[in-house]
Amino acid sequence: MKQSSQSHSLLIRNGHLIDPVARVDALMDVLLRDGQVVEVAPPNKIRGGADEKFDAKGLIVAPGFIDLHVHLREPGQSYKETIASGTAAAAAGGFTTVCCMPNTTPVLDSPEWVTWVRQPQRGAVVNVFPVASATQASKGAVLTDFRALQRAGAVAVTDDGKPILNETTMRDALRTSAEINFPIVQHAEDTRLTQNCSMHEGATSLRLGLRGMTDAAEAVIVDRDVQLAQQFTGARLHVAHLSTAEALKSVRRAKRNRARVTCEVTPHHFALSDSDVRDYDTNFKMNPPLRSAADREALLEALADGTVDAIASDHAPHAPHEKIVEFERASFGVTGLETALGLAVTVLHGRQKMPFARIVELFTAGPARVVDLRGRGTLLRGSHADVTIFDPKKRWTFDATKSRSKSHNTPFDEWQMTGKIVATIVSGRIVYRSG
């Protein structure tokens, strides 16, 4: 193990540690040294000093949060976000690791661009693991070189923003996935059914005179992909931003069959539904769209019962000229890194009575398993010293204008929430501390 130039240690004291992998849910002190967890013990049992101490009394100490689905917009779209600004927002939201999507300009479809994203010059303040493009330029036709992308540091492949629509292409992708143990992340949308649509198809879209996306557009792709994935033992399919009750049925069936199928759900999909799209506010426009109340209930149930593997923000920053326009012409997407935990605590714990241990799992061990982030998602001895500390009772109001993101396109501006990030620690160093 390479020793960092200056040795550094940080002792987190008196906090309530929740580490689902270690099956710990108790008061514990955690000692970090030189980027690793070196000791976890009941309060005041860790001997010897530390360079820095953090008093976490009354706070929950968790493994560093991992966000599987973030659009950092670099290369090429730095007017929306940069790797530096996006990861600063991630740190403020408690995320120590983010997986960035490849729908940049150019698309992350080569080992060179994957390497570029990971270079220190990008100024990332948290760990960034690229998800590379599954097809060349994400055009859906020719698969990229999965092996080369994997070697360059990509943790999965996707054509996110668009689906891998062609059955043969998807089947070939899953075959390679099985061969090299590499997840295929699908943006499940049959775009043949969603042309010119700007929100979920239902009573609200009818009332607003907007063309609606049927829930079937998601379900048919998930259903197809689950069937294709089961043709190759070991193939790994991850359903991004799953939003419908129908699609959950396919994922449940796959999991019963022990297929390696995983899925993520966004905070906006579990906190809002299509009836919240009011007054053509484009901060409520994203893809997949806010779904029906029944879909939302199904997501809440699936988050609780273990069907859902991870909460992912689908942080999708856009500039004002792309959002302050006619609803049907506005770009899809909302920011979400800084509101994810607050929404999870407020909605999942506050209303659904979900235990904090499960919430932490959805932000840590769950996503770490989806893309095999070894030594992350837990604070077992020897793990990476990535830690998220939050106050589960703190009430606060989100102010979008104070966001670290370059863009402010959030539906949650001025929302009162419970549960606030207090400190974010990456490789043993505090990268965010609430003021």
Binding site: G209, E326, V347, Q416
Partner: protein, 314 residues
């Protein structure tokens, strides 16, 4: 409903005072007031209520009757009008809706009347401008002045709106006229039946407003009606939905035989433009019960009332 309370609306801004964006959000008292005011307006006896005011007509879609009607109404009140069409303007060069709106405000517009192919476009303008915006039709969403002029027309033939039985037949799904009419009729307490094939009148349309019914039988919908409102059906849309034209005509076209099922004094309405031989027959369009031409005439006093009210003169 969301479980989280907001300290204030995320949208932040409300529409400029005097804006008329839709019937859905309009209180019944305001509807009554506009209808009463329209009765006092006479296009043949101009009143200089809006002398010196500038009415900007911003049309992103072709229009004959709505545009002419607003223009004549504005002039009858002494206002000047300027027409901006999307072709031949900076809109063609890619100027955004809001930048166009700011430009029109800067040249001295007192009110903007807008027709736009995107639902919610007038709402966006109204949130960012400090002058009233009048919706002259936004995508498939609403066409509030059409619903108001239809109510005005009904009141010229019927004593009250709240006892009326109304059949709306045709393409409800794509129709902004239908949405506005449905909200207005529901607010005044009329009993409305929507009629058409599921592709054009989806089951979920019953949730648009309280008191709505859906019927798949034209005969059933029209029987005993005080008002039969026929909506345009576009050939291209039937093609897109794989609904055969002969099938539509045989089941839903308003013919004299079907119209006779309505009350003897029933009114036959259509927002136009009509396509004879498709949603109605030639003779129905011109029958004594047809008020199709009168609707167009009534658009002028009604829009005089709307403009006067928007500018605080009514």
């Amino acid at each position: 409903m969301s479980t989280i309370t907001k300290t204030q609306a995320a949208v932040g801004r409300s529409a400029a005072r005097g804006s008329i964006l839709g019937i859905e959000g309009m209180p019944l008292s305001e509807i009554d007031r506009l209808l009463q005011l329209a009765r006092k307006m006479n296009p043949l006896k101009p009143r200089p209520l809006l002398r010196g005011k500038r009415v900007l007509l911003l049309f992103y879609e072709p229009s004959t009757r709505t545009r002419a009607s607003f223009e004549i109404a504005a002039k009858a009140l002494g206002a000047t009008t300027t027409l901006i069409l999307s072709s031949g303007s900076s809109i063609e060069k890619g100027e955004s809706l809001l930048d166009t709106a700011y430009t029109l405000r800067a040249v001295g517009a007192d009110v903007i009347v807008v027709r736009h192919p995107n639902a919610g476009a007038p709402h966006l303008m109204a949130r960012h401008l400090d002058i009233p915006v009048i919706n002259a039709g936004d995508g498939m969403h609403e066409h509030p002045t059409q619903a108001l002029l239809d109510a005005y027309t009904m009141l010229r033939h019927k004593k009250k709106l709240n006892s009326l039985q109304v059949a709306i037949v045709g393409d409800v799904y794509h129709s902004r006229v239908a949405r506005s009419a449905i909200h207005l009729l529901s607010k005044v307490g009329a009993r409305t039946t929507l009629c058409g094939p599921p592709e054009l009148v989806p089951e979920i349309a019953a949730t648009l407003a309280p008191g709505l019914r859906i019927s798949r039988s034209c005969e059933e919908a029209v029987r005993g009606a005080d008002v039969v409102m026929v909506l345009r059906v576009q050939r291209e849309r039937l093609a897109g939905l794989k609904l055969s034209l002969p099938d539509y005509i045989s089941r839903y076209q308003i013919t004299m035989t079907r119209l006779r099922l309505a009350k003897n004094d029933a009114m036959l309405m259509h927002p136009g433009p009509i396509i004879r031989g498709l949603e109605l027959t030639w003779d129905v369009a011109d029958c004594p019960q047809s008020v199709i031409v009168e609707e167009v005439s009534n658009g002028v006093p009604l829009r005089m009332a709307v403009l006067a009210r928007a500018l605080g003169k009514g």
